[in-house]
């Protein structure tokens, strides 16, 4: 196998003049969410688990409003911690229901437990309502203004607490506590890793098909806390959150040419990924955030390059007259799956992270584009082009291909942090209208994400630190 490394001109990341950046105001950086010990029933070992996948979608989960010890107004919600407790339960209910995983019943059709009952459920009441599982919790305001949210999961049949956890959050981060609680319940009942407390970067689209305005935007995994990051005077495409959420890689036409920028969320400043006159596209992070992959066209020929995230020398990973583009690291950082038309049409290839040992893995009918390695490491999602465009998965050797969606043009899959759900964007025939959708690995549970305007290029970040 020919392995050719081409050293490019060394270039430090160079700041771009602020006036030419198309950027809106920077958004506040993440606040810390702190775990806190909370009181609960510690009697005896847990007797039962509920990890049987065939059963868990049918579990009836009751999620009454979270209680409070003393109703106090908070900056998050002037109606007070009592009303906020109801909102928290609503967010958890929506999370569990929208992902097709459970059949939760929310606070608006359930009795509200008193504060004292959070740690000592009235099991008789809940079993009488047919609930198998019960989520209770509380919201209290501390004197320093921060909120404490406690989250408890009970097995109604066993009359036992399964798990509990508490968090201290800034009032503006109360939804994060609801997502943490959703993750706790999801993980305890399925044995899977969490994914609700995460964010999504994407491209917000407005305007007619031939003059589409495309802006960089971010939102929570459930569509809340939505923000536009660019103003729309320049086309923005293909964002990727850094693993620590401090930066976003994306493509912008802000200087008239397609180029990859590194946008620093805390400072609101952005830099070119590499100082070079050639167009750069398709940015990706390594799992540890230390490297950036990008694709660059030189005299019309596109190849894949790697550069340290802090700037420095780029290394050329592919060297082929075909279009080599994209790239997605395996979770351990040792391999990269990418797309190339070197065989005559778009197909998926795997190489070592240093560019060696490039091998085609897709040999089923149709084309393989935009491959993305699952965070679990066992699957690769991609756009399968066989007439229509659909999202499909295969194992890392290219076997076991399964098509998950049935749209006319479903494109660019991105994995949930736990590797169980895939988001993608769907474009409508003729109108060009686009939206973000998600589907689970069974292909059975598909839904559209709520976004304020049309949306494309979703990029799901990891569980928030």
């Amino acid at each position: 196998m020919t392995k050719k490394f081409l050293l490019l001109l060394t270039a430090a990341l160079v700041a771009v003049p602020a006036a030419a950046q198309d950027l809106g105001a920077p958004i506040p950086q993440d606040q810390q969410v702190e775990s806190v010990a909370i009181e609960g029933d510690d009697d005896g070992p847990l007797r039962g688990t509920v990890t049987d996948e065939s059963a868990w979608s049918d579990i009836g989960i009751a999620i009454p409003a979270f209680a409070t010890d003393r109703d106090r107004p908070t900056p998050a919600n002037e109606a007070g911690t009592g009303a906020l407790g109801r909102e928290v339960a609503r967010v958890i209910t929506a999370n569990l229901r929208n992902n097709g995983l459970f059949k939760p019943v929310g606070p608006d059709s359930l009795p509200q437990p008193a504060f004292a009952q959070v740690r000592a459920p009235a099991y008789g009441t809940w079993s009488g309502q047919g609930a198998e599982m019960l989520v209770q919790g509380y919201v209290t305001a501390r004197d320093d203004g921060r909120l404490v949210v406690g989250c408890y999961l009970y097995d109604v049949q066993l009359q036992q607490q399964l798990v509990r956890e508490g968090w201290v959050v800034a009032p503006g981060d109360w939804r994060r506590a609801a997502h943490k609680c959703s993750d706790l319940i999801f993980s305890r009942l399925t044995g899977e890793s969490p994914f609700f407390d995460s964010r999504i970067a994407y491209i917000a689209e407005t305007g007619p098909k031939d003059r589409r305005v495309k802006r960089l935007a971010v939102m929570d995994s459930d569509g809340a806390n939505h923000r536009f990051l660019t103003l729309g005077s320049a086309t923005a495409l293909t964002p990727r959150y850094s693993p620590d959420y401090s930066k976003i890689l994306y493509l912008s036409y802000v200087d008239g040419n397609p180029r990859i920028y590194v946008y620093d969320i805390g400072t609101g400043k952005q830099t070119l990924v590499t100082e070079n006159r050639n167009p750069t596209i398709a940015p990706r992070w390594s799992p540890d955030g230390k490297y950036i992959l990008y694709s660059m066209a030189v005299a019309g020929n596109t190849d894949i390059y790697r550069v340290p995230a802090t700037g420095g020398t780029s290394i050329k990973l592919t060297d082929n007259p075909g279009i080599d583009v994209g790239g997605s690291y395996s979770p351990d950082g040792s391999k990269i799956v990418f797309e190339s038309d070197r065989s005559g049409s778009q197909q998926c290839y795997v190489m070592n992270a240093d560019g060696s040992n490039q091998k085609r893995i897709s040999f089923f009918g149709g084309r393989c584009a935009t491959p993305e390695w699952s965070p679990r490491g066992d699957q690769i999602a991609f756009t399968r082009i066989a007439g229509d465009f659909n999202v499909a998965v295969m194992n890392t050797g290219g076997g076991g291909m399964r098509v998950l969606t049935k749209g006319w043009q479903d494109e660019a899959p991105t994995w949930a942090p736990n590797g169980r759900i895939i988001q993608f964007f769907r474009t409508e025939r003729n109108t060009g209208r686009s939206g973000i959708w998600q589907v689970d690995l069974t292909g059975q549970n598909e839904r559209r994400l709520p976004t304020p305007v049309d949306a494309s290029d979703p990029a799901w970040g990891p569980i928030r630190p």
Partner: protein, 173 residues
């Protein structure tokens, strides 16, 4: 010479600012002619009231539909019809050596976004290489790919996609 280069740079950066509202050339009627501005070079072939040299309208008037060449699905080769169009362009650029231009490469919507950006780049460079082989100075030609982001035909059918798989030469002025 230096002054001329500086002027071109200034003008092209002004173009850059206006680029967002600029539509694909095949899609727009010729802009209203500014008769108050004298042409910088006398051109007997063009009527005095016609578009000024160095404008897209002037270029389009001279070469007709040959401002744009079209490609088969996923292809970027210059076929016979494309070659004829590029020869007409090359003659124009030989006659007006002060004119600089950008080749915009495009793809139809039936490709993935990033691949189409690379494909548009390939198409624009194929057109550039052909023009250079005909004697046009490579330094006069800029290249930019828009992938599938700027269609001129808006339907989702074969006819529209054929119109969108294109490399369009656009005068920088």
């Amino acid at each position: 010479m230096n002054t001329k280069i500086a002027t071109i740079l200034l003008l092209s950066s002004a173009m850059g600012l206006a680029a967002c509202s600029k539509k694909a050339p095949a899609d727009i009627p010729p802009p209203p002619v500014d008769t108050t501005r004298p042409t910088t070079q006398p051109t007997p072939q063009v009527q005095p009231t016609g578009p000024a040299v160095g404008t897209q309208a002037h270029f389009a008037q001279a070469v007709g539909s040959s401002t744009t060449i079209y490609f088969e699905t996923d292809r970027y080769n210059v076929d016979t019809q494309d070659a004829a169009a590029l020869q007409a362009q090359a003659q124009y650029f030989a006659r007006f050596p002060q004119v600089t231009f950008t080749i915009e490469g495009h793809a139809d919507e039936r490709g993935t976004r990033e691949y189409n950006l690379a494909l548009g780049e390939r198409r624009a460079n194929a057109a550039k290489a052909y023009l250079v082989s005909l004697g046009v100075d490579a330094n006069r030609i800029s290249v930019v790919s828009y992938g599938k982001e700027r269609p001129v035909a808006l339907a989702s059918n074969e006819s529209a996609w054929a119109q969108n798989r294109r490399a369009a030469s656009v005068i920088i002025n």
